[in-house]
Amino acid sequence: MRAFRIFFRSIRDAFKSVFRNFSLSMASILCATITLLVVAISLIIAENVEKATESLENELSIVVYVSKSATEEDVQNIKEGILAIPGVLDVVYKSKDEWRIEMSEYNASFKAAFENYEDNPLTDSFTVTVEDVNDLEKISTEIREISKVDSANYGKDAVNTIIGVFDVVEKTTIVVVIALIFVTAFLITNTIKLTIYSRREEIEIMRLVGSSNTAIKLPFVFEGFIIGILGSLIPIIVTIYGYIIAYEKLNGHIISELIKLVPPYNFVFYISLAVAALGAIIGMLGSLMAVRKYLKI
């Protein structure tokens, strides 16, 4: 019972303190807000980049062009040859006539160009998907060794550039987030330090009449917690509404249709939860640092 009363008393005192020194608390809350906003945006970017990288990698496939002199039998041999390579997931055949029809439908100028040829200038092709994108190079090389194969390539350079950029974005956001977390924790430490200072008489008396150290520290830890949670409110609202609106405006993808955004539902709630938890943890961490440093007990 006693422990409960001390617990609730601490919560009450923490709220009192936050509102009694409101201008001071506000500075910390605003700082936490800015940090958590950046954290929320970074988390959204990081998650989207990761998902995009994953899906891009999964879409990587090897396009195999068959030599013009190949007979139907050769084509069949090539298909079997590719399927025999370990790590190959699927092989889809597309004949040169199919290519021609598809390209003509896609663009009128292609159609006009094709009409100048008596024969079909295109070649038959296979699209090969693999189990592990890291094997693309090896498998392409093996495919090239099959007879009557003209070329076997995958969009190595373009994809690598995109993935490289994504990687930089991801790492930068992580660094920024960690730096901001430290700045906020430090600012909250300062706020709590001033609260401790403004309540030093009370603390002195508490010590004299025999309050346990935990009972003295607890209100400050709660105060940090409250500052952290209040600081996470605006970022959470911005995350939920901002992301849903952005997702709808962009039709669920960015730059090209290849880079899909993570669907907002549940995703925004996970981010919000992470932001609130982070706010609470930073707040408590900051106040614990202050309590340890300035409360000599």
Binding site: M1, R9, R207, V209, G210, N213
Partner: protein, 233 residues
């Protein structure tokens, strides 16, 4: 075992100043003891050691069977609950009423308000402030503020009441009244009282045991009534 027992206590501060040298003294349960000496004589250090605000450099300080010198920081609060402390500067919380100031001591310990109320009212009655329960400290005279401080010190029924110059800021008339309150607490509640002061008149009038500390050394231990101010100080 004696209630309070100091054995060969030494205290040297980190600045190199020796506040107490080889002090040994015993105090019985229910005694009333004055501690006198000049400023910086070491009497404050002696008082602070009793409630473990200071730790001795050497020797043992036993209060109520507990060796305070060896008490871990995390356990000090248990000792403090058995001790009431009264200061020269009262240390009241300005935003709380008399009642709230006294109740604060019990609230900190997590006591229920139903349990707190009778104890607080009783303590306020003992110090004679029944009429001023709802007043704020700034509405009280110095003597009344000191009474609140005493009420707060005794509300948890401590076995030991430590007073550090409780009349230092008060005029002689008010000091007399405060001493009466403290004397009554000693007599009626059987609380051991240890009081540091340099008010010679009080010491002469009260005729209690007197410990004289000079330059960190216990130079005199006068039994009840045998101390006369002209001897020293």
């Amino acid at each position: 075992m004696k209630f309070i027992e100091l054995k060969n206590v030494n205290k040297t501060y980190s600045t190199g100043v020796t506040a107490l040298a080889d002090m040994s003294v015993e105090i019985e349960k229910g005694e009333f003891v004055f501690v006198i000496g000049h400023t910086a004589s070491g009497k404050s250090t002696f008082i602070k050691m009793l409630y473990r605000e200071e730790k001795p450099t050497k020797g043992s300080v036993i209060v109520g069977g507990v060796n305070v010198a060896k008490l871990r920081n995390g356990r000090v609060y248990k000792l403090r609950r058995k001790i009431g402390v009264v200061f020269q500067d009262f240390k009241l919380l300005p935003k709380l009423t008399v009642y709230e100031n006294v109740a604060f001591a019990l609230e900190c310990l997590g006591m229920a308000s139903s349990e707190i109320r009778p104890k607080v009212l009783k303590a306020i009655e003992i110090v004679g402030l029944k009429e001023k329960t709802r007043s704020f400290p700034h509405q009280l005279s110095g003597g009344e503020q000191q009474r609140v401080c005493i009420a707060r010190a005794i509300v948890n029924e401590p076995k030991l009441l430590i007073c550090d110059e409780p009349t230092g800021n008060l005029d002689p008339e008010t000091s007399k009244e405060i001493m009466k309150v403290i004397d009554n607490i000693n007599k009626d509640l059987k609380t051991t009282v240890i009081m540091a002061t340099h008010d010679k008149e009080i010491v002469n009038r009260m005729k209690k045991r007197v410990l004289l500390i000079e330059h960190g050394v216990l130079t005199g231990d006068y039994l009840k009534g045998s101390y006369k101010s002209h001897e020293s100080v």
